[in-house]
């Protein structure tokens, strides 16, 4: 019995243990759904704050968009150019250096001596009496036996070559004590006869003048005279004395060369110098250039053996702006040749105007030599009529503040001229030369959108200038999009903006090559009527330019080089131009969102780290994922969306839609055919469903980034207009099947 009980007890225990077998390990999968709305019904206005499709409060779009009175959105942006000034527009005028030569010319001879008597003859020599008679003594009629020679003592005169026909005046005093009926005088130069004269009667105590003609070419030196007298019988009126030659003077007597103590000689000359006529013409008396700076330099070389006591150089064409008086430079004591003969001086011309009629500047020189007959010790000098006084006149560093005249057409560079590609060459792709403007908002659009055609974009160059001279700006304006594609803004043939190859400025280049017609554009600057600052706008729109093509390229950068062609037609007879010449341009983009699109594309790469999603080999797997997007599209264009998932290496993981999967298309709203805007109640409602396959879901967790591509089309590829309040409403829901394995 015990064995039976033991057996039973053990069996019961075993059975109990058997009955208490532990549960098996779990081995099952859960397929659960996660179905929930992802977003509330949200309306994204096209333009607005941070909740809009385009956040105009964002850094890049701030102040970029405006809305006009019709509600049309305009992408507007202004960026300043940095050209500095346009002072180069004022002509640069050069005046040829000139040397003023003044010859001494005919040398006048007047005083031959300084004392009261230059010679005399005694009573005895003239009368032949052995002794002088006394008063009351009878004098028998007689004549001078032979001739009497009187040698002149002329301390001022040594010799001269007479230049012209003149005469010498001899002043003689009769102190012989009796009256002479006739005194015959013969003038000799040394032993050579020069001329004669006679004085009759010549009473006692009288002083008479005898004139002797001196023909040109006469050489005078060692002057003396031969005299003879005849008289009637008479009684001595006084005691006998000498016949005295008081003086000899030249009358209208000029010499070509003289060696003498010379009185002051005055001589003058005039001349002109040329003003460069390449850039500016003075065609009327009132034409002038006003100088803000300039230097008149004068270098004088005195080649005359006599000092210049005073020298006046006058410039009747250079006049003070304030007093309208000519410029006269007065100098003194210019040394003679023997003492060096050089003299230099300069003069600041700021504040002066140059009236250079016919581009000539006239000058006058007036010089007065020293008088060597004066002062202690008269000095004998030998001078020649051909002796010169040279004055070199140079106008340098002329800075023109104002010019009134005829401005010769010429080109002025608007950009910095870098030396690397040569002087006077501006290359639109040279960063050191071109103005480069990046418009952030357009840059962002450019990086993401292509193949859109804007209907009426406008590029304005808005400027302020005080330029008073007609000017035409020739420019290369290159728009470069994010892909590096370049479209040049150019004028349409026949428009005011068109630049023919004939007119193409040689200064402008594109990639080191002269630009084609299609790369150039021009516009006329509106000038200031009175030199005050005035504003102007150069408006480039589709009517006269390829602005539509230019902006449809969505340039992320706009490069500009240009020149201003001043007074291009040259027709104006008088222009006035003054510095400083301001030219403050800014580029203004006015891009109405009025466009057509045929498969225009938008692309954006978004960070999308989906590594948290289950993937291949994970305990959890996604078996199905459906994203439903309900939309009401009030935008005037339809969208065709696609997604490309990229892994961490940028390689494609998968994409949507694949072949056979429903395309993601959003219908465009209905368009008012007249206005181009979305018509009232024209919004289209629809639903997009993104249904990912199991294969896609297996790979999707490798996604690290996602390319969102949107092709958008306007209805019938017509032009449409976008208003700020155009909006799209979307609501997103998701349904995901998750399989979780437990084993």
């Amino acid at each position: 019995m015990k064995k039976v009980l033991r057996f039973c007890a053990c069996s019961a225990l075993v059975l109990s243990l058997y009955a208490c077998d532990p549960p098996q390990a779990p081995d099952f999968k859960l397929e659960s759904k996660l179905q929930f709305p992802l977003t509330v019904e949200q309306t994204y206005q096209f333009l607005g704050g941070s909740g809009a499709l385009i956040d105009t409060t964002g850094e890049n779009f701030d102040s970029l968009f405006t809305v006009d009175n019709n509600g049309l959105i305009r992408l507007s942006k202004e960026e300043d150019f940095d050209f500095g000034d346009l002072n180069d527009a004022i002509p640069k005028v050069n005046v040829d250096p000139a040397t003023v030569v003044s010859e001494v010319g005919e040398i006048s001879l007047a005083n031959f001596s300084s004392s009261g008597s230059i010679g005399s003859a005694s009573f005895e020599s003239i009368t032949g009496f052995s002794a002088p008679l006394q008063q009351g003594d009878p004098v028998p009629a007689a004549s001078t036996p032979g001739t009497i020679n009187i040698d002149f003592n002329t301390d001022y005169f040594v010799s001269a070559i007479i230049k012209n026909n003149g005469s010498l005046e001899l002043t003689v005093t009769n102190n012989l004590g009796f009256d002479i009926d006739n005194l015959s005088i013969t003038l000799n130069s040394g032993s050579s006869f020069v001329g004669n004269t006679a004085i009759n009667p010549f009473n006692h105590n009288a002083t008479e003048t005898g004139t002797i003609s001196i023909p040109a070419g006469t050489q005078l030196s060692d002057l003396n005279i031969n005299i003879s007298a005849s008289w009637s019988a008479q009684t001595m009126k006084e005691n006998a004395d000498n016949l005295v030659v008081n003086s000899v003077r030249g009358q209208n007597l000029a010499a070509s060369q003289v060696s003498a103590a010379i009185e002051s000689q005055q001589f003058s000359s005039s001349g002109t110098t040329n003003v460069d006529d390449n850039k500016f013409l003075f065609t009327q008396p009132g034409h002038f250039i006003g100088l803000s700076n300039g230097l008149l330099s004068i270098d004088i070389t005195n080649q005359i053996n006599i000092a210049i006591e005073s020298l006046d150089i006058s410039f009747p064409d250079i006049r003070s702006k304030s007093t309208d008086t000519p410029l006269i430079l007065s100098m003194n004591n210019i040394p003679s040749e023997l003492n060096g003969g050089s003299f230099s001086t300069s003069f600041d011309l700021s504040g002066y105007r140059i009236y250079a009629l016919d581009n000539e500047v006239t000058y006058n020189i007036d010089a007065i030599t020293e008088n060597t007959q004066q002062g202690a010790g008269s000095q004998i000098r030998t001078i020649n009529e051909a002796d010169e006084l040279r004055a070199s006149v140079e106008l340098s560093n002329l800075e023109i503040k104002r010019a009134t005249g005829v401005i010769i057409p010429r080109n002025v560079l608007l950009n910095n001229d870098a030396a690397a590609n040569g002087a006077n060459k501006l290359d639109v792709f040279n960063d050191d030369e071109a103005e480069v403007i990046k418009i952030d908002g357009i840059s962002d659009l450019s990086e993401q959108i292509s193949d859109i055609t804007f209907a009426n974009p406008i590029l304005n160059i808005i400027y302020e200038t005080n330029l008073t001279v007609d000017a035409t700006v020739y420019a290369i304006i290159a728009g470069i999009n994010s892909d590096g594609n370049t479209v040049y803004l150019s004028g349409k043939p026949g428009s005011n903006f068109y630049v023919s190859s004939f007119d193409a400025p040689s200064e402008l280049m594109a990639n080191n090559r002269p630009p084609d017609e299609e790369q150039l554009i021009k516009f006329i600057l509106t000038t200031s009527p009175d030199g005050s600052t005035a504003g102007g706008i150069a408006r480039f729109d589709s009517s006269g330019t390829n602005a539509s093509e230019f902006f449809s390229n969505l340039p992320s950068k706009i490069r500009f080089v240009g020149i201003a062609r001043i007074n291009e037609d040259g027709s104006a007879e008088t222009e006035t131009i003054s510095t400083p010449i301001t030219f403050d341009p800014r580029l203004s983009v006015d891009l109405p969102l009025n466009f057509s699109a045929e498969n225009a594309s938008f692309s954006d790469t978004l960070d999308a780290d989906l590594s948290n999603l289950p993937g291949e080999g994970d305990e959890q797997q996604l078996s199905e994922a459906i994203f439903t997007i309900n939309y009401t599209n009030g935008l005037p264009f339809g969208l065709d969306l696609s997604l490309i998932m990229l892994n961490e290496n940028g390689d494609e993981v998968t994409s949507y839609p694949l072949n056979g999967q429903e395309p993601l298309m959003v219908q465009a709203a209905s368009i008012d055919p007249v206005t181009g805007f979305v018509e009232d109640g024209g919004a289209k409602t629809g639903k997009l469903q993104i249904s990912l396959t199991a294969e896609q879901l297996e790979l999707i967790n490798q996604t690290r980034s996602m390319i969102l591509k949107i092709n958008f089309n306007t209805a019938q590829q017509r032009e449409v207009k976008v208003r700020a309040e155009d909006s799209v409403m979307i609501r997103m829901k998701m349904s995901v099947d998750v399989i979780s394995a437990f084993n």
Binding site: L17, A19, K29, Q42
Partner: protein, 511 residues
Amino acid sequence: MTMGKRFLWLLVGLMSGWSLQANAQSAHLTAKSLALGGGGTAYVEGYHANFINPANLMLGGAGPRITFGLLGGISTSMGGPLINLHVYDTYFTRGLTITGSIAEDALTDWFGNDPAGMKNFGMQVDFIPVGLSVRNDKWAMGLALRTRILMNTGINKGAAQLAIYGFNAGIFGDGQPVNFSTSTLVFYEASLGVSIQLLEIENLGFARNVKIYAGAAPKLLLGVNSYKADFNSVLTLKGPQNEVEEIRHDFNYRIETTGEITDQLTEYYQVRESQSKVPVIEDYVEIVPEDMYGVKTSGWGLDLGAVVEMDVNIPVLGALFKGAEHLQVGLSLTDLGSLTFTENAGAFVADKNLIWRGFNFDQETIDEEYNGDRGEYISHVLEDSIMTGIYNSFVPQKNVENKRFLPTMLHFGTRLILSKLSISVDLTRGFSNEGVNTQKMALSTGIEYDLFGFFPLRVGMRTGGYSSTSYSAGVGLEFRNFEFSIAASTVNTLAKNGSAGMAWSGLILKF
């Protein structure tokens, strides 16, 4: 971790008792009684008798009269219909994909057809650090300290559907209740049991040496922690197929707390009400260890019982065994009493609804408040706005008393000793469904064979109550002055209401 996986692990956690919820039968278990099916009304002796049937203090016959236990008993039992091994084995161990009709069948098997029907899971942990009993001819006394942790949690079918189906418009399109509840009660007991012999009859005709004992064990209850939460809701996913446009969750809950957490939640509420920004609850709630062991309230409890032992002579069967057949019949009423928590007691209620129609990506707000980070915005919406702003929008109630009744239970049991073989049968029934208790009748039977006189082999079976039929077994070493036993029980893999239990007798010395 995905939302679905989180739910699943939550479910697994609940099933495994991780959430400190408890159920099954609240009867005190020893290593011996667990091995014999979980009864013991008529045979659990020594200081353990205080908690099952105090009258049993008088049992023991000629054996040692003093019993001392050091670490004198650790037992844990868990179970409930939430642990459905049949469903588990049928659907969750065979590589099936739980979807469609399979999921529907599994949930029907598990929860039935009533979407609101709750299935619970309970766990009880008893620990007797020390116990002492002394027995005399006419009276006996027992003194024991016991730490009890009673936990219970339950979810309804909707909650399970949410875990399995996820946010599935096909299931929740018309709205489904999603409910759960949980409760925890931690307390100490200091029990003093007294048993006396009421009557002794030498010969009653069919029995001899009939002795009737009666016992009572009043006990001082020291409440440590009481926590209850009841969450009731209706989840509705509105919208066409695959396109849920609105998630609506109407919910209400009540949380009863004690201890520091009450102050923390109150402070959180006050801050939330005083400022515009919703505070993060994690910044306010921190588990304070003292809440896990500090005594916060006290009360009195009582265990009562009576037992009859007699020698009987059973025809036929008795002839198979040597000596007289000994029969013990017991009746007891345990866990009378309650605990009322007033110190730091709180109740927090909410009655809200969540309507979710998707994220509102207001870029301006995202830019200004989240530095343009959408991820941060999403995190804020999910964690702060929804979890904190809506689900944490509770309101504290004032002057709260959290009263918790002990899991009163009526026990009736017998034990028939046939030499080295004994057979026991117990019937138990709780008086409430609160806590770990159940009003369902449970039947426990067990057989013990004392192999070699010191190596008892025990098997048992239990059916009814919260769990399906569970089987138990245990062994022990029982010498005159020393005893050590272990036992374990579980249901078989076909059981719809699972249970499991373990017990360790500790070191028991007898003199």
